[in-house]
Symmetry: C3
Subunit: 437 residues, 3 copies
């Protein structure tokens, strides 16, 4: 613990003999500690960028719901992030990274413990990074998964059943399935590859959302008896665009930090490749949606362009390092195309996904994960991984949603839905000063 801020004055520095860095005699040099310091820094910078994605999801979703549900959507987003932070500490992190385990399920229900203060270099994992920075970084990923669910199920789900689902998703479901690959489990043994989590993070969120959307049902009035789909317009496209830019920014940390090393020429150069490729995929996803909506509908659709950028990002997430910039452009563009075609497809099946989370995170996530096989050649492992995460997450989520529905109900009353969740569930209004049109 440091008692005072340092002063630049030399005299005062001399008066503070407790400062560690000046006293370490025969301390290991930068050739030994430099990689540890750089990788820890990568996790901290990458981690705060991925943290920022929580704000991105909140703004995107608040912008894409109707004004009567905005306060609720904001509440869900800040609550889910907070709950994820606690659950991942309580059990998630150690379930997901248990060390040596059976490859399927680690009986390792212990909270995360950080290194002691002022860790000596001799006690550090000099070939990796600090546990605290690793925990901080990984924690942000689980929150992203939960955010995906909140967007799809907006405007009709009750607050508390949703938050209970978040507890289970972030404390158990995501860590357990995550351990199969990133914990060194059976899928990693098989050669499955998912660099930063097109499947492990995004598709998992998408599958959980899909199960929820089916159990929950569509919003009242969304699908007419004659197959007519009534558009329910987002109330604030400026917020939705802001959210998309925030997510785009955060994704540099999401993918770049997943290099998990930054202290060699090769590693930091790879992080640079990842940044450039990630940006390219987002750009091409947006442009693909821009061109396609112009061609198909005669007018550009801004929400499709936003979701196109996000789908490009999800698509490149499974392999942001190996492709060239041109490869990244193609990968992202396919993601953008997928969104434009699958948003109406979901409506055909009367699956009501308020913000387009399932096309963006699930469908583009599957595409991105499959596309890795162009580089690894191991199609079997990729398909196995996609199916494994899909079956596990969808089935467990379905069971959890059905139980929640039976035990406490997951949907607000029809009247509450019409009045909006803000007034019925929270008793407040996000924009009380403005008349609603």
């Amino acid at each position: 613990m440091k008692l005072t801020k340092l002063l630049p004055a030399v005299a005062v520095l001399a008066a503070l003999p407790t400062l560690g860095f000046a006293q370490e005699e025969a301390a290991p040099g930068f050739d030994e500690i430099g990689p540890y310091i750089m990788t820890t820094l990568l996790f901290l910078v990458g981690g705060f960028l991925v943290f920022w994605m929580a704000a991105g999801f909140a703004m995107l979703e608040a912008g894409l719901v109707r004004s009567k549900n905005v306060a609720m959507q904001l509440t869900k987003n800040i609550a889910l992030f907070s709950i994820a932070s606690i659950m991942y500490w309580l059990v998630g992190f150690n379930l997901m990274y248990p060390g040596d385990f059976n490859g399927y399920f680690a009986f390792n229900f212990v909270p995360t413990v950080l290194e002691p203060v002022g860790l000596a270099a001799a006690d550090a994992s000099l070939d990796y990074a600090s546990v605290a920075s690793d925990f901080f970084f990984q924690l942000m990923f689980v929150a992203a998964t939960a955010s995906i669910v909140s967007g799809a199920l907006a405007e009709r789900i009750k607050l508390w059943p949703f938050l209970i689902f978040v507890v289970i998703l972030t404390g158990l479901m995501y860590p357990i399935s995550g351990s199969w690959q990133w914990g060194g489990g059976w899928l990693s043994e098989m050669g499955f590859s998912d660099f930063a989590g097109s499947t492990i993070v995004h598709s998992v969120g998408g599958w959980a959302a899909l199960a929820g959307a089916i159990v929950l049902g569509a919003r009242k009035g969304k699908y007419g008896p004659d197959g007519k789909v009534t558009p329910m317009l987002g109330s604030n496209l400026a917020l939705a665009t802001l959210g998309t830019f925030i997510l785009w920014l955060g994704w540099f940390g999401f993918n770049g930090g997943s290099q998990l090393a930054a202290g060699t020429v090769g590693d930091i150069t790879d992080v640079g490749r990842i940044f450039a490729n990630t940006n390219m995929a987002a750009a091409s996803g947006a442009v693909a949606a821009l061109l396609l909506t112009q061609i198909m509908y005669g007018k550009v659709d801004l929400t499709m362009v936003l979701n196109g950028a996000l789908a490009g990002l999800v698509s490149i997430t499974a392999e942001p390092l190996a492709p060239s910039l041109f490869g990244s452009l193609l990968t992202g563009a396919v993601g953008g195309v997928i969104v434009v075609f699958t948003v109406p497809l979901l409506d055909k099946f009367k699956i009501d996904d308020v913000v387009g989370a399932i096309p963006v995170h699930l469908f583009a996530g599957i595409w991105g994960t499959l596309a890795v096989a162009f580089y690894t050649g191991n199609w079997g492992a990729q398909i196995t991984g996609i199916i494994a995460y899909g079956v596990f997450t969808f089935v467990v989520a379905l069971v959890v949603w059905i139980i929640l529905k039976g035990v406490m109900g997951i949907r607000v009353s029809e009247e509450d839905e019409i009045n909006g969740l803000d007034s019925s569930e929270l008793g407040m209004d996000a924009y009380p000063d403005f008349s609603k049109g």
Copy 2:
């Protein structure tokens, strides 16, 4: 001064022999300069994150005032940050970090001077960081203090008296009291501990706000003669939530950068601990407010959840390094509880704090500072520090507010208040296209 951007091509590099880094012969190696570079980088990254908190305060406050006062609140926030930047350069930084001084007040009224361009390693404080980066980082803290005041006094204070108060607060009050601890003054001698400023930054802002709120009085109609409190709802909870996420993000720099060193294994690992602990306290503060408002009022209150997260952050700021994750959870949760109980308490005393800045920054700041004694055992020093900052800031602020009130008036007319400060003080409207409800 660098005249051109570098080209990757080797041929061009060879043609630019003025570039310093290739020519330094017998320059000190990374074992000597690495810590300086890393700590300077910590201040720059930490500093831009804390800068970002200025946007967070602006959005939080713009979201929590009524729409007729939004443009004014935005004006105050960008103006106060700009004034703080100038005042801290002009006198603040050197008043606060004077080097050797009497411990109470440094007669050191000189503007900040940075190192020369292209500083040689031999001339640098290799055991610390660049002066410019240190100044940049510390400057951002004083701006946070001023932001706290602007939120509490919103919706009825005149622009110019507020800005004059900011001049005094950021140029004199904060630096002088700050020197007692971070400048190596009498409180640091006594063993007071306030890692990143629960008291020195947040409570100081809270005390100044409290003095202002008392002198200024409550908004018209807020407190009825019968003790009835009329809620005056924030106009844009999406902005308020965005502001909270921005502050949360910036706080990683606020607390993490206050490690003041990043170039050893121990220091960078400690920064990681601080990031993880800071996040945990915010999360538990939010969850505490979420649960408590549900239990107490039967409905979740989003603004309480936002303020709960912020109170968790303020609470952990006095000691974000020593606690375990579980300790951080407890510290933050108490902060969240404090906010839920003290927001109505202020209303009992008819102290009108528009955004809840006093509960969040003053009350949670006191709690966080007290809680440090669980780790240091030095309750006396903690209590002395809390009282010293409270008495000094409250009394000086009270005197300044009373003088400003007498000399120029600090409050707009009743008519102007009803019409809103945007039209009366600025002659503009933040949302001119939208009908007000």
Copy 3:
């Protein structure tokens, strides 16, 4: 390509022998690779900060247009960034940084190729940074140029001609003129100095905007036959303020990253100077506009304060390193003054610049570039550079705008303009739930 995330557990680390950093025998030490790693990191952090400016422009512009044009302005901003990303990869980067060339125009139409994955230290430009990080950083600058144009021409330009102009600007115009200086061309030979691009980025955007504004004409009703100017108020000053804060934050990367090196004491200290100076110029630009609008109009004008901060930032961009903090204060303050005086001036000439982009980026950019001569003494080179970029960009832009006007029309119909571009061009509304006043 990395197949799995690392586990902290040592046992698992041992089971992953493919990890590069542990195996590099006789790898070069940090004295050799440290500067490369730090400069690459500078580009990545600086790059994501400048990326963030794209969101800043989007929010600023969305806040300063009327609500009926917000969705269009958002669409343009995300589309222009995406197009710039693709064009700069396709031809821009190699046109701008061609290596050895004639100094005026490089016949180098090849897409950018990044280093191979897992670059060996022996193959890296150890005296610079990774190509990918450099490309990522430089790419963000071209996007800023295009954003400037989009703001000035808002509320009446058609989507597709604007995007075609962006293709030409970001793929050809900006890279070609940029090569004159940053590519080591004739202006750099002459001693022209423009550290981070007051002219090369900001004035170029401003000139292209000016040409467009002239060809396009003013918005209907903006200028009456009697010389009366009708104010057309921005619809959301909270967004505009947010955008300004975002740009301010991003500017630390813009200017700081342009040091192009961070791995020596001199370089990282210089980056710190740049951060402090950049902040000071923004602050003084804002305060200058605050005081001046109070004096001139009797009321503070928030949009002028925002533009004052931005003009301060543009002004310091040509030389953010050499000035003292006081010099930066003066430079920025002049920028703020310029904005307050030239916004009405443009109206005199009936040049309709919706967001004030031409005063902020062109006029303050000229001032900042001129001011460099106070440090270099080379007035001739500064004036030559200003004129060269002005003539080239303005003439080429004028020709392109005239051709676009002739071929496809660049302006929406009067009826569409009155109804708003959101409904006419996009068929959607940014704020559908809210009644328009």
